[in-house]
């Protein structure tokens, strides 16, 4: 399945305050999203990610241009027709009342049921399929208000799936979750996109996960533009580093992560690799030291010995002291004259 699920033409998004001219947040947006793709929308706070998502979901009118859902302009679709093609998952937790997870997912059948909301056998089959697809079968009977944040987010994704949309839009679906749950939800979404042939678009602040899992990255640097591409291309072109550039933080092109740059205590020469070396480096950078590995001027030299358990030697001139835990090493380093 390679059809174009979502496309925009000359789209400009923003809002119109009462009795004031419209404010454009981002303009000239040309994007396409294909069936079976996972796209992650990233950008600093206030760049307009939510405004863009709301416009693409038809919850807000574009200031200019068009949003096309499988070729049809989204604002001309009837609400029911739109609900059959597109579903959403929002950041805010729903106050789902006294519904079981199953009943909550069943609400996703709303656009398909008659006036009374009665579920047909087909509806029930799809609800069960959706619950199984997100791996929430054991949650089905449980009341939604007793679920953890991660479990509830799975149920909300199942509800979105039960709408049988060609596109699911999620606004920061992992915002309230701990790291393992964030990875789990993101992998789930990618699997759903790939296996069910639906397009999935989500906004996130998890750059690392987005870089590792997204088929396409949509980058909003906050200057009114939008860059799209494979995650790796955006890294190599420097667009990602530029978007998130701010004092004290730098994007490391090698590790693909952001590092804290706050080296005010001086430079330490670090020798030795392996886990002992990696984590000694982390510890020293966290404490405010710059690291050199090629023998420049330094306050002291540290030799990381990657044994089990690891050890570190602090070398100052002729004096060599060995440490077995990093906290002792850091305490010693901090006493060095800078």
């Amino acid at each position: 399945m390679t059809g174009t699920t979502l496309a925009t033409q000359d789209l400009a998004v923003g809002y119109t305050p009462p009795r004031k001219p419209a404010r454009t947040i981002a303009g000239d947006i040309h994007i396409t999203l294909h069936a079976g793709e996972l796209a992650c929308l990233i950008g600093p706070n206030g760049a307009g990610k939510s405004t863009l998502l709301r416009t693409l979901a038809g919850m807000q009118k574009p200031l200019a241009g068009r949003v096309l859902l499988a070729g049809d302009e989204i604002h001309t679709l009837s609400p029911i027709e739109r609900a059959k093609r597109l579903s959403i998952v929002l950041t805010e937790q729903v106050q789902a009342g006294m519904f079981s997870a199953y009943e909550l997912v069943a609400l996703g059948r709303h656009p398909y049921t008659d006036w009374s909301g009665r579920l047909s056998a087909k509806d029930e089959t799809i609800i069960r399929w959706a619950i199984e697809a997100v791996g929430a079968v054991e949650l089905a009977k449980r009341p939604v208000n007793e679920l953890s944040d991660g479990e509830r987010q799975k149920v909300m994704i199942a509800r979105a799936l039960a709408q049988e949309p060609s596109l699911i839009i999620l606004d920061e679906p992992t915002a309230f979750l701990d790291l393992p749950r964030r990875v789990e939800i993101m992998r789930l979404l990618r699997r759903l996109a790939w296996e069910t042939g639906r397009a999935v678009l989500l906004s996130t602040h998890d750059l690392d996960l987005a870089l590792r899992l997204a088929d396409r990255l949509w980058l909003m640097p906050g200057d009114g533009t939008l860059h799209t591409g494979a995650p790796e291309d955006l890294v190599l072109s420097g667009a990602l580093a530029r978007a998130f550039r701010s004092s004290g933080v730098a994007f490391d092109l090698h590790s693909g992560t952001f590092t804290v740059q706050d080296a005010h205590r001086g430079t330490i020469a670090l020798i030795g690799g392996g886990l002992a070396g990696i984590w000694a480096r982390r510890a020293l950078e966290r404490t405010g030291y710059a690291i050199t590995t090629n023998g420049g001027p330094a306050l002291a030299r540290i030799e990381a010995v990657d044994t089990t358990p690891p050890k570190w030697r602090l070398i100052q001139g002729d004096a060599v002291v060995e440490y077995t835990v990093l906290s002792d090493l850091l305490a010693a380093v901090k006493t060095l004259p800078s």
Binding site: K84, L90, G97, F99, L107, L119, W129, A140
Partner: protein
């Protein structure tokens, strides 16, 4: 629609034998509805049998089925007084409880009730104008008042609540957020109540008393004549509410999700407000501003049925509201005595401790309105 049916391709069929236990059975709560029906019928018969004169149940059933009872006066008592009163209690209880449920769902607020949109204030204004300003001395409490007293008050109250309802409906079409609408309704209510206060301030003492009597609330003032308007209006409101069960369920997820499910929020909200205003307005017009029921019964029903599904809740809330109205009215009439206590006072005095006990025992209120 040519939607891709991938749900059969990627997952094994769910309807195998072992799957039955795995999935919840919907509709297992029908038993609770049956219990409520039994409760309602018992309360109804008991309400007709008791009063200043107690009538044996057998004779009550005889009169209701058109058979001559042991004493002919019992036929008169039941047909002219107790039956219309019991019917008024059933209709009012159901109407107020269902409109309270609708408001709690629409505003996603456990404190919302049938009167949050100012409907009862509107009715109060109508009644206040008739009693205080125009000087009709008749009250709904007294049987046998003239035709103007019979319909005048109800008509004025209808007019008053229709006025406020019109304003709120107008606002509901223009206002984006439900919270704004809630605040507007409260403000309408305050503004209208202040006019009533002004009227009270400049009125004669006995007219103020007549007005206060109306605010006590009573099911006893509805004549058969009035019932021919009262009953159909309430039934229309209740049917409308049941037709709105699906949009109400969607609204539980919040406006944004409801809209994403294809619901036209403004239109749905308009119908919900219309149904609520009709139910609450008509009851207030004929029986006075009866408090408490509309807020409490939805909470009790959610706790009893352990669900938020309006397809079940609306019948349950209606049945329970009707039964509770009958029981409270029964207590207010102090069976075996001539004393009749103010309905609203008894309602809160008996009801508040019960509701506090139920709410403290179960977490249903918290569960329904917090995440």
């Amino acid at each position: 629609m040519e939607h891709t049916q991938t749900y059969t391709a990627s997952v094994a069929p769910a309807t195998t034998g072992s799957a039955i236990a795995k999935w919840p059975r919907l509709g297992g709560r029908r038993i609770a509805l049956l219990v409520l029906v039994v409760l309602l019928v018992s309360a109804f018969l008991l309400s007709i049998a008791t009063g200043s004169v107690n009538i044996p149940l057998g004779d009550v059933i005889k009169v209701l089925t058109g058979v001559e009872p042991a004493k002919t006066t019992w036929t008169t008592i039941i047909q002219d007084f107790r039956l219309p009163k019991a019917l008024a209690a059933v209709l009012s209880g159901a109407a107020l409880a269902v409109s309270g449920l609708q408001m709690q769902t629409l505003f996603r607020n456990p404190l919302a009730g049938p009167y949050v949109l100012g409907v009862s204030s509107g009715a109060s204004l109508g009644v206040a104008v008739v009693i205080l300003a125009l000087g009709t001395s008749g009250t709904v409490m007294l049987a046998g008042v003239g035709l103007f007293g019979d319909f005048g008050l109800a008509f004025a109250a209808c007019l008053g609540s229709a006025l406020v309802m019109g304003l709120v409906l107008l606002a509901a079409r223009r206002v984006e957020s439900s919270v704004t609408l809630l605040i507007l309704g409260l403000m309408f209510g305050y503004a209208v109540s202040s006019i009533v206060s002004l009227l009270l301030h400049f009125s004669l003492a006995e007219r103020v008393q007549a007005y206060v009597n109306w605010t006590f609330g009573s099911f006893g003032g509805v004549t058969w004549n009035q019932m021919s308007i009262f009953a159909p209006m309430v039934l229309i409101g209740l049917v409308l509410a049941y037709l709105l069960a699906k949009p109400l369920n969607a609204l539980l997820l919040g406006d944004a999700y409801a809209a994403s499910l294809g619901l036209n929020i403004r239109r749905a909200r308009g119908w919900i407000v219309l149904s609520t205003a009709l139910l609450a307005g008509v009851v207030t017009a004929f029986c006075g501003p009866i408090g408490f029921l509309g807020i409490a019964v939805p909470h009790l029903s959610r706790g009893l049925l352990n669900t938020s599904d309006h397809r079940l809740l609306i019948p349950a809330v209606g049945l329970m509201g009707a039964a509770i109205a009958l029981i409270v009215d029964l207590i207010a009439h102090m069976p075996g005595s001539q004393i009749v206590l103010p309905l609203n006072a008894v309602m809160a005095l008996v009801g508040a401790p019960v509701v506090i006990w139920v709410i403290l025992r179960q977490r249903s209120v918290r569960a329904s309105f917090t995440s």
